[in-house]
Symmetry: C2
Subunit: 146 residues, 2 copies
């Protein structure tokens, strides 16, 4: 990947070196992940994390993890540029609210299933109906949570 | 809040100025949010975002939003220190998987409700039973999604 990155950028510096106005060396740590034709990617991480920190964070990782690290840093940086107060923590908070709402809806639906089973069993005057209905829903829950 | 921050730090520099080995001025932008007795908070944001970027991001915000911005930056920085590859984007990905799983469970539970209603109505040989059962579940869905 590094090789292809360098080939692409052989005649021009990578987006990072271009922004930092420095010579793009053959072994530039940024070049494989910040190609010259995507200048916004580096601009965001530079604004939020700083070039020196991004450099340090990449150097501390093995090469096969650097591409994922860059993607997650670009995601985080873009979120912070869009929302300078909460950044991607805003997304976490919103996803957690969505989970709370889904858990409530699921509990209601499961309660409805229990209610209908109990009504169904009791209407057929089956002794032990309540226990059987609850047992079935418990089995259903373990099935759903797989 | 700024005032109380300065009072607490009047005799000693705030955690940021202590780490940066600089004089903690009366109007230090870090002091209200990085008290001397919580050095780890600043150490994390310094490592991930850099002191200069944190300073700039705080200066660009009105004072009443700075405390939330610091909290979200500390959260993000701690996540990146724990997981240098994915940072808090790892949490976002895991929450999204949880949402997918809950949506599947909810769809199954709602399908079970439809199935039971249809069976209940058809067993009582009610004409138009299927439509009524589906209508009731549609009403239930809009109730659950409130």
């Amino acid at each position: 990947m590094k090789e292809s990155g360098r080939k692409l950028g052989a005649l021009s510096p990578c987006a990072a070196c271009k922004l930092l106005r420095r010579r793009c060396a053959q072994d530039c740590v940024f070049a494989p992940y910040f190609p010259a034709d995507e200048p916004q990617k580096f601009a965001s991480v530079h604004k939020v994390f700083g070039a020196s920190n991004v450099n340090k964070m990449l150097q501390e990782l093995p090469e096969h993890q650097r591409s994922d690290a860059v993607s997650s840093m670009v995601y985080e940086a873009n979120a912070r540029v869009r929302d300078p107060v909460y950044g991607c923590v805003g997304a976490i908070s919103s996803l957690q609210k969505q989970i709370d709402s889904l858990q409530t809806q699921l509990a209601l639906a499961q309660a409805e299933v229990v209610h209908m089973r109990v009504r169904q069993f009791t209407s057929s005057s089956n002794p032990g109906a309540m226990d059987m209905a609850v047992d079935q829903v418990t089995m259903g829950e373990s099935l759903w949570s797989c």
